[in-house]
Amino acid sequence: MTTPTLTPEKVPNAGVRIARTFVRARETGILLAILVVIAVTTAINPTFLFSGDGWRDLLLTPSILALVAIGQAIVIITRNVDLSVGSVVGLTAYLTGRLFADIPGIPIIAVFVIGALAGAVLGLVNGALVAFGKVPALVITLGTLYAYRGIDVLWAGSNRINASDMPDAFLGLGTGSFLSIPYLTILAVLVMLIAGWFLRNRRGGRELYAIGSDPAAAELYGLKVTRRILTAFVLSGATAGLAGVLFVARYGTVSSQTGTGLELQAVGAAVIGGVAIFGGSGSVYGAVLGAVLLLTINRALPILGIQDFWQQAVVGVLIIGAIVLDRVLSLRLSRRLVAEREVTA
């Protein structure tokens, strides 16, 4: 039996390649932007890059935000959001400080594990409320943002944890490097690679994209939506928890206000990095690059002659620019895809 001859789909490779490069273009675009910023700033002030501290800070400063942005990206991919990460970071940072202060000699690795686990538990609460309560994550995590911060402040009171309370080895981790790459950056990159691998290669990871792409279809397909959403929030909490520990290692001081406002930076980093706010697309690599771009620009502003007071405005412009760009590009892409289809039909 012969099928009626049809015009074969117009050069499938071209269409796909265009789609692929579009996706990749975002990450490469951000990378390019980062390089441009560094180049321009270094031209004005070579110590930005070419000094011991310069190179280190370039990599070190974004590492903590990058970690949080990874978790945020995972949640946003499922068409949710986690506004409580700033409070989680604050809580686990204080927990870290307390652990070292109250349990002298506690192994550093244990603190890392406890911090991540604590974050995971906080994330589980979010995930459960969202998955079972079927209430938008925006509202739930708004509530936990308040609640967790309240617990943090209640616990910390007006205490501050200072560098003197921390073991030197721990602080050394925060500022030290291996082969001129800071330890914290290595850690963040490791987490990024693992998360990226999971999202790309495991069924669970692919299902996260499906859930964000069309939640109703995901239910119809019989995907275990509840379990996946729980996982996403647990991961977001865990990365935030880990980031809290790293924060203490890097800065040595913790107050009850630690981490305030971090959630918006994390969402911003993810959005700039190409993670669609409606879910279904994007990568943790993009989110990390977004974090790097954001903080690098912030650090570059004073050198470029702009007072660093304007940092937040720059962040705002970047976020709005990113989502407008996304919209324009996606409109153009779907128009092209529809046009291609009409030609072949």
Binding site: M1, A19, S213, L223, A276, G280, E340, R341
Partner: protein, 510 residues
């Protein structure tokens, strides 16, 4: 790979339903459904809108649970509580609007939820791609497996759903109005695929309104009417007329008490309306006292034309005039001010706010007119709503009943009341009696007839031939966005309407 050997003839039927019933509150969707789909068969399921076909499909697919009756799949009694269970058992449904994940690739869509994995637990992309390529090759389909599902035509999306079904080795495929949005070539391609699936021993249920397709593709045909089983025959043993008669169940003329009306001046003049890819060069006139029907197959573009005339959608070229005055495009408020009213096709999503009260729904379109010094009072909403509720004999306990709890017929009355309250000069009504019980159907027809008798110009879109032939003074037939026939009441019949609906102006019979 997926094909199993063609089973020996004489095996159990793929699907057997006996006495299946389902009600939703007061509404009885299925009173008695019987169906027996043999292996290696393409089985047509026909019936008017509201006959219960889609409820039946949803029960088989596991979306609904039946209230009574037996269901057997491949000889065994089954009870599906989720769609996933039905899918895993080997039942695939290809809906009119497939649900694919737009952000994921075609291959991922086919395998989502059950991707093959390698030793490391990684999704095995190579294996998936190979299998999809092979399935596409067998189906003669040329879609790049790596492209995103976004932007694919409905025809291609359906093929991907079929590929999914084959990959799952589904033994029963249900196709719900699959050809509604397909071009001629795409339909042929689909038929070739369906026949090859049949030859592999699978059972296919084919739901369609298009009799030429039904008779050319299917070997068996089951008729349903008003939620109950009517008949099953081999397609060779029965004629189209006989099927239509069984679908309608009574003489066409009895149903529709059409009043004679004096036909006056042109009220609505549409000229050369064009929207690329949707409709092309559409021109027609509706006079006062006239009921003009837009007939055609589902997906022909009639609702799109209505929406463009009313301003919900835009159009590229052409003009719309009401009583001589031009109506600006893309502005429903302007259309309403000119005297147009549109009772939309999707009552629940476009005609009503389901979680609002009868009073609020009834007065939504006239809310600007109900004001005193800019303010609205519930009292005035209630009295306005009451006027129309009693005129249309709405069955509801109170004016603050939520409209979502009313029956289909009463919901339609609320929508009608809402639009009639705007005192329109031209009433456009899209599928006036879809999903409505027989009694209310007659009421709606009587109402339309009386309105026309009093001078209203009515443009009626309907997919139900008996309704079209009974109610309309003139029948305009639309096919793929173009008007292919303009038939006066005296010459229109099922044959020439259907012919115009399925053939382009210049085409000869297939």
């Amino acid at each position: 790979m997926t094909s199993s050997a063609t089973p020996a003839p004489g095996g159990p039927p793929v699907l057997e339903l006996r006495g299946v019933a389902k009600a939703f509150g007061q509404v009885i969707a299925l009173s008695r459904a019987d169906l027996r789909v043999e292996q290696a068969s393409i089985h047509a399921l026909v019936g008017e809108n509201g006959a219960g076909k889609s409820t039946l499909v949803k029960i088989v697919a596991g979306l609904y649970q039946r209230d009574a009756g037996e269901m057997r799949f491949r000889g065994e009694a089954v009870d599906f509580s989720t769609t996933a269970e039905a899918k895993n058992a080997g039942i695939a449904v290809i809906y009119q609007e497939p649900t694919l994940f737009p952000d994921l690739s075609v291959t991922e869509n086919v395998f989502m939820g059950r991707q093959p994995t390698d030793r490391l637990g990684r999704v095995d992309r190579k294996a998936m791609r190979t299998e999809v390529r092979e399935i596409f090759r067998r189906l003669g389909v040329h879609i790049d497996p790596d492209r995103l599902a976004e932007g694919l035509s409905i025809a291609d999306q359906q093929l991907i759903e079929i590929a999914k079904a084959i990959s799952l080795d589904a033994r029963l495929l249900i196709m719900d109005e699959p050809t509604a949005a397909l071009s001629g070539v795409e339909v042929e391609r689909l038929f070739v695929v369906a026949r090859s699936l049949r030859d592999e021993g699978r059972g296919i249920v084919f739901i369609s309104h298009r009799f030429d397709e039904v008779f050319s593709l299917c070997d068996t045909i089951t008729v349903m009417r008003d939620g109950a089983y009517v008949s099953t025959d081999s397609t060779v043993d029965v004629t189209e007329d006989e099927i239509v008669r069984r679908m309608v169940g009574r003489d066409v003329t009895e149903l529709f008490p059409k009043q004679a009306a004096t036909i006056g001046e042109p009220r609505l003049v549409v000229e050369h309306l064009t929207s690329a890819g949707v409709f092309h060069d559409v021109s027609f006139t509706v006079r006062s006292g006239e009921i003009v029907a837009l007939a055609g197959l589902v997906g022909a573009g009639r609702s799109e034309i209505a929406r463009a005339v009313f301003g919900v959608d835009g159009y590229e070229t052409g003009s719309v005039r009401v009583e001589g005055r031009p109506v600006p495009k893309r502005r429903p408020t302007a259309a309403m001010a000119a005297g147009l009213a549109l009772v939309p096709e999707d009552r629940r999503k476009q005609g009503l706010v389901l979680e609002e009260t009868v009073a609020r729904n009834s007065t939504l379109a006239i809310r600007n007119k109900l004001t005193k010094a800019g303010f609205i009072r519930s009292a005035s909403e209630n009295s306005a709503a009451r006027v129309w509720a009693s005129r249309l004999q709405l069955k509801t306990n109170a004016l603050d009943t939520l409209v979502g709890t009313l029956s289909g017929g009463n919901q339609q009355k609320v929508v009608l009341g809402k639009w009639l309250a705007t005192e329109p000069r031209v009433l456009i009504i899209d599928e006036p009696t879809r999903g409505i019980d027989v009694g209310t159907k007659a009421e709606v027809h009587r109402l339309l007839s009386e309105l026309a008798g009093r001078g209203m110009a009515i443009l009626m879109i309907s997919s139900e031939l008996p309704e079209v032939l009974g109610m309309a003074d003139r029948v305009l037939v639309v096919r793929e966005g173009r008007i292919t026939a303009d038939l006066d009441r005296s010459v229109a019949d099922a044959e020439n309407v259907m012919f115009a609906a399925t053939h382009a102006l210049e085409e000869s019979a297939r």
